[in-house]
């Protein structure tokens, strides 16, 4: 499993905010991603009702997950495929390696799979002598750059066009120095030609799955490039990496999710290719893989079923929450330090790698709620982030200074009379200390605030006093 570096969020964020190329790359979220999603949502009058339906469908599935997974397994087998249940990343990796060896694989082409990132399949295959070749253009670019995805939909979101040119010139050693690669179209032609040869030569194709269909034993992928289809059609073996919460009862149910997924992800009414794959090639087929394997990964998810975090398992990986998040806009995806960035990453990462290994993530949010407002399956992300904050505090993972501050505040908050007196005294003291200026340029324990702006001194009475006075006035001067 990819080692999380989420505890270095603050340092990496500072670095990210000073990175001019990254900031340029991230500006696309505001200028393009948000308007596209809003336009697509507005074009479909039933969009909000479909979001409700998608939420209810996922809730229903999570409440009957065992039943649908067993039905899916039976149907894959009846269509000539195989299902492999893998409790953790290590089991899944070793299983994939065994399958590749069985197929005599030297190279493996890959469609985009976040579960593949989660189990670190590329490094594992590579270190065992099998070459993995990413075929999604974004994934290919970052594979050449030895980077990880910074966005679940646009993995190379952080890379500018000029950096792509540099990367290709370095990696494609047969490129003539004089070849003009200034235009994005010539870069794409170069990648298309290079990867076409890899598609045709690969022994195994690995894809992810956006959905699994219990009724038919199908796996579903959604792409715009067509790379996922070439990946699974040309080699002799197709391996699907999927996590357990991806199952959906019927094809028609999947259409509900497919009506909200692309609109939320890229602002398209439907992605270019949505492919349902069922079993290996049929007897008379002229093309297609001879073997079909589905890896069902748990990796800690089942422990969250039926608990306060269950809602996170509704996620369909559209990326809208990160597209709309002001924190993600500022720092990009790598600062989050593991596979899933952005708001949903701040919820999933503590769950899958342990909250002690991702302490800053649930706190790196103002809980502004934009993520929840756009989530196609209405995951209450701010509520889930608050849950992790509580968990961190109760398990003493919160850093000591914050912890003692919160403890002190809690001690007063539990003693309302004392709290009001203390607040009154503090307000008066601050006002007196600020003098005529009425604000502070620096203040103990508030350096994070005063480094960038002044702190205004309290004016007038405390909130509690004002509230009481207003209540008394509203009740006609009565009071308690």
């Amino acid at each position: 499993m990819l080692q999380p570096t989420s505890n270095a969020f603050a340092e990496k964020s500072t670095e990210a905010m000073g990175d001019a190329q990254l900031q340029e790359a991230l500006s696309i979220l505001r200028t393009h991603s948000i308007p596209s999603r809003n336009k697509a949502a507005a074009l479909l009058p039933e969009f909000e009702a479909l979001r409700d339906s998608a939420r209810d469908l996922k809730n229903h599935i999570l409440g009957h997950l065992d039943r649908y997974l067993l039905q899916f397994e039976e149907q894959v087998q009846k269509s000539g495929g195989h299902v492999h249940w893998c409790a953790d990343a290590d089991t899944a990796r070793r299983l994939v390696l065994d399958l590749c060896r069985k197929a005599g694989a030297r190279t493996v082409t890959k469609g985009k799979t976040m579960v593949g990132e989660e189990i670190g399949i590329n490094d594992f295959l590579q270190s065992n002598g099998i070459e993995p070749v990413e075929t999604d253009l974004g994934e290919y670019i970052i594979q050449l750059r030895h980077e990880t995805p910074s966005h679940i939909i646009g993995p190379a979101l952080h890379v500018t066009k000029r950096q792509v040119e540099e990367t290709f010139r370095k990696a494609h050693t047969d490129l003539e120095a004089g070849r003009n690669l200034e235009e994005a179209s010539s870069l794409m032609a170069e990648a298309r030609a290079k990867l076409r040869a890899r598609f045709l030569a690969a022994d195994v194709g690995i894809t992810g799955a956006n959905f699994l269909i219990a009724e038919t034993g199908s796996t579903v992928i959604v792409t715009n490039e067509g790379n996922g289809d070439l990946t699974q059609t040309l080699p002799k073996m197709h391996i699907v990496l999927a996590s357990i919460e991806k199952v959906v009862p019927t094809i028609e149910d999947a259409m509900t999710l497919l009506r909200v997924l692309p609109r939320s992800a890229t602002g398209q009414e439907l992605s270019v290719y949505t492919t349902f794959s069922t079993g290996p090639r049929r007897g008379t087929d002229l093309d297609g893989p001879r073997e079909f394997h589905v890896v069902l990964l748990d990796n800690g998810r089942s422990a969250y079923l039926g608990g306060p975090m269950q809602d996170m398992l509704r996620c369909i990986r559209c990326g809208a929450c990160m597209d709309h998040c002001p924190v993600y806009h500022s720092v990009g995806g790598h600062a989050y330090g593991w596979v899933y960035p952005g708001p949903i990453g701040a919820v999933l990462t503590p769950a899958l790698v342990g909250v002690q290994n991702a302490e800053p993530l649930p706190n790196a949010s103002t809980l502004c709620g934009r993520c929840e407002a756009v989530c196609p399956v209405r995951i209450p992300i701010p509520k889930l982030l608050r849950h992790w904050r509580e968990e961190e505090f109760s398990r003493a993972i919160t850093p000591p200074v914050q912890r003692s501050g919160l403890s002190a505040w809690a001690w007063f908050a539990k003693r309302p009379a004392l709290y009001r007196i203390a607040a009154r005294w503090a307000a008066r003291a601050l006002r007196w200390k600020a003098g005529n200026r009425g604000r502070f340029g620096s203040l103990p324990l508030a350096g994070g605030w005063t480094r960038h702006r002044d702190f205004p001194a309290p004016q007038g009475r405390t909130f509690h006093d004002q509230w009481r006075a207003q209540g008394r006035a509203a009740r006609g001067g009565g009071g308690r």
Binding site: D66, L69, K78, A156, E225, D287, S302
Partner: protein, 227 residues
């Protein structure tokens, strides 16, 4: 010794047993109004949506006109006069001899075909989407490997919504589509292949076809079949 399957199922069952959403019913799928129309309205919506997805659309009166429409399209774009046909009679059964300048072959693609001509299961007006599926008469490589994909859609194959297209698949392969009844692949294709992964500039033809040309035939496919 318990297997991963046993352990996972035990954990999932324990979670399901305490899950607050155990009683949530499966919602009845909601089908948007947009595609629910007929006649010329349906054709117009299909055209508009397919073109919005960067496909091109031509209309012809009869299956007899398809070979000439294919030749015209390739010539008009200065593309090689060479096509690989799906063996399906809806395409291979047309009068290709009427176009002596077209180089014709039939079967799966090995990656060296500049253009393919295939039938579809359905054309869906809601988003201008084509439903295609694999099978001996319709090899999947024809939908993805050539730089130009030309799809022939007959009048009775044009529907308003995805649900109608799935119903057509159920009519063809069995009502429940389970127990291996599904074809190996069913793809919903909306426009030509594209990517915005290089500097966020949207470009056509990432790995799949660079061009998707749709020929709408204004007659039902039964009437166009050769005797």
């Amino acid at each position: 010794m318990s297997t991963d399957r046993d352990r996972m199922l035990a954990a999932i069952r324990a979670g399901v047993a305490r899950s607050p959403t155990r009683d949530v019913a499966r919602p009845v799928p909601l089908v948007p109004q947009r595609g629910q129309r007929a006649g010329r309205d349906l054709v117009d919506l299909f055209r508009k949506q397919a073109e919005a997805a960067s496909a091109t659309v031509a209309e012809v009166a009869s299956g007899k006109d398809v070979p000439a429409a294919v030749a015209d399209y390739l010539k008009g774009r200065n593309l090689p006069a060479q096509v690989k046909l799906a063996p399906d009679p809806r395409v291979a059964g047309l009068d290709w001899k009427s176009q002596p300048l077209l180089e014709i072959s039939s079967g799966a693609s090995d990656g060296n075909d500049p253009a393919s001509v295939t039938p579809v299961l359905s054309g869906v007006a809601e988003t201008g989407t084509l439903f295609v599926h694999s099978g001996a008469p319709t090899p999947n490589t024809l939908h993805f490997l050539p730089e130009t994909h030309i799809a022939v859609v007959y009048r009775d194959e044009l529907v308003g919504t995805y649900e109608e297209a799935w119903a057509a698949l159920r009519r063809k392969f069995g009502a429940d589509l389970s127990n291996g009844a599904m074809p190996r692949t069913v793809s919903l294709v909306t426009g030509p292949s594209r990517s915005a992964d290089i500097g966020k500039i949207l470009l056509m033809g990432a790995h799949g076809p660079k061009r998707l040309h749709i020929i709408l035939v204004d007659e039902s496919r039964d009437s166009s079949r050769p005797n």
